[in-house]
Symmetry: C2
Subunit: 203 residues, 2 copies
Amino acid sequence: MSTRERLTDAMAALLWERGYAATSPNEVMARAGVGQGSMYHHFSGKHELAVAAFRGAIDTLIAESGVLAGEGTPVERIERYLAQPRPGTKGCRVGRMTQDPQVVQDPELLALVAGAFDTVAARWTQAITEAVAAGELPASTVPGDLALTLSAVLQGGYVLARAKGSQAPMDAAVRGAVALLEAARAAAARPQPRTTPSIEECS
Amino acid sequence: MSTRERLTDAMAALLWERGYAATSPNEVMARAGVGQGSMYHHFSGKHELAVAAFRGAIDTLIAESGVLAGEGTPVERIERYLAQPRPGTKGCRVGRMTQDPQVVQDPELLALVAGAFDTVAARWTQAITEAVAAGELPASTVPGDLALTLSAVLQGGYVLARAKGSQAPMDAAVRGAVALLEAARAAAARPQPRTTPSIEECS
DNA sequence: GTCTATATTTCGATAGAC
DNA sequence: GTCTATCGAAATATAGAC
């Protein structure tokens, strides 16, 4: 493994564990087993190293969202993605960056974060649109809204899991979201609630 | 205003803007207009000052959740709480702490964060339980799960809003959650999807 | 390309005058 | 109670030998 790779790998791990601001070049070099000069030879500084390392983390997040465009009915795919194992107490590699003041002030890093969420949200939106078309979700569903709701459940699940130091809140939040989706599916199957049932329905 | 109060106010503001790790005693003192000696007279250090300041932020979060136990039907209260104005791009004063490595490693601060979420979750759970009892939500609803789902939508909304530097994702996530709740309510009004409707229903 | 040595600034905290 | 002066350590980066 090249020195450059060892540096980006170490930085990626520390970005996840500690965030950007709290990660010092010294720690990165120590974990990579590399001297100070090497780092400043390959990268102009902490910023450039973080950008290079963070691209890898983003690719992972985006790859995981592939199931949304995979096999099965739209709602199956949605629920499968929701149910994917997520290490709640470790937090989301990407989402955690949004709470780091140095990241938010860094246009390049923030653009990477925003781009990652955009890509995943687009996949959510596509799957939800298909679910509505298939009659699996109510016609009144706004795909773009629900996409962000489900993204938020996952990101919020990480927050709650870290607050409690436990995986349980993440799993419970996901179960609750799936239950809501199932209720919406049931409602979609019986479209307009009425007080006076139609003749056909009683036949 | 006492020197002590000026210090806690300044610390509370900086905790929200920058988090714990990224806030230095120097900045706090500068914003409070107070010398270094004063701070170390009133508090043993950064940690103790942050604990004192953070209690105030938590009281605010908990007070805002009062609507969950207020006027109106359970679902009305739930949707009113969801619809409360939330400064997405500023982030949640409490939730942001969970991404701060120094906070997670600090048992006292972490306990404050966990306690705040527990208190709000208990109010969510109570309101949801009432909604189920009133037939506003399906009997199959697990109140504790849905409570964490809705908490997560808000916390995740902050994450997405900060990623995009815009309020829009927060508002969309909340709209999507309300739409799901409405769908669940519709499903609750027509409990068991059946192919053969009962006699009474057609009378 | 990689290393060690050093520079500069800021961190969190202490000392001690007033 | 409040201030200024100062400490030791760590942050980020540069210099320059090999």
